[in-house]
Symmetry: C2
Subunit: 135 residues, 2 copies
DNA sequence: GATATTAAAGACTCTTAATATCTGCGATAC
DNA sequence: GTATCGCAGATATTAAGAGTCTTTAATATC
């Protein structure tokens, strides 16, 4: 059980877009080069982020992707939901009434999600920025 | 990203074995029937649990599986580790020095594991037992 | 000791999901 | 109009999970 690589790429892309001065657009080929990916593959991931409303795409010449207006509210969990879907980690198909096992597993998962929801990408971006200025 | 079915089967098996009077052994075919599985498939899962020291196997005639001596200390996390391995959910192969993203993901995962570590199977087994007496 | 019973291990197939590429379409700037 | 770009669909390719079959080794019973 592991997060997909797409989630990793999505997180990096989001941070990168947040660091764009004035929230300007960046083309997929630049984002792909940065992460050593093929543009077509990354494009699929970016489409997911777009549909989730985390970034905004502008097609056509001089187009690209830019961070959404909700920039300061985007959490790690938002990105993960966009790439991984929002299904439960533990999904017993039977669902017995008042299942004790499911209870424990779901509660634990909730603990993880709470943390991921409380951590905002903007804070990471800011830290990265200040590190770059130092170095 | 989902827990494997094996983890579900393992959890059910563990609870079942804990409910055996006197911790007596149960054969794989009985455990398999209970969960509508093939004995050979379940056998692989049971071997993992055995190697993790959560259950004890006795081969040969009248053999089977019984719960380990550490019965009262076995947590959900122990079972999950046995079936899923103990690799991290978020595993970036690069591992940059002081990576901020990895930090957040690992911390969140830790929150989940803390909960899974604190929840003991024996408590679930006892609840199941008392429910059965009620019904 | 012979035999029946049972767990352990390895090879193997099947299915599914993730990964990745290629192609054509539609929107936009110039 | 044309070059540039994101979007969607089809299509490999790969990896992991799910599950079966067969053989081997250990044990109890007789
Ligand atoms: S007891 Fe819970 S986990 Fe087990 S089969 Fe029922 S619903 Fe699923
Ligand atoms: S910044 Fe962190 S997650 Fe990103 S490549 Fe480096 S180690 Fe991996």
């Amino acid at each position: 059980m592991r997060y997909s690589n797409a989630t990793n790429y999505a997180l990096h892309t989001m941070v990168h877009l947040m660091l764009q001065p004035g929230g300007s657009s960046v083309g997929v080929q630049e984002l792909a080069e940065m992460q050593h990916l093929s543009p077509t593959y990354l494009s699929k991931i970016l489409t997911k982020l777009t549909k989730a409303g985390l970034i905004v795409s502008t097609p056509g010449a001089k187009g690209g992707y830019k961070i959404s207006r909700t920039k300061h509210e985007i959490s790690f969990l938002d990105v993960i939901h966009a790439t991984e879907g929002d299904t439960s980690l533990f999904d017993c198909s039977i669902h017995h009434e008042g299942c004790l096992i499911e209870n424990v597993m779901k509660q634990a998962e909730e603990n993880m999600k709470k943390e991921l929801e409380s951590r905002l990408l903007i804070d990471i971006a800011k830290e990265v920025e200040s590190k770059q200025k130092e170095g």
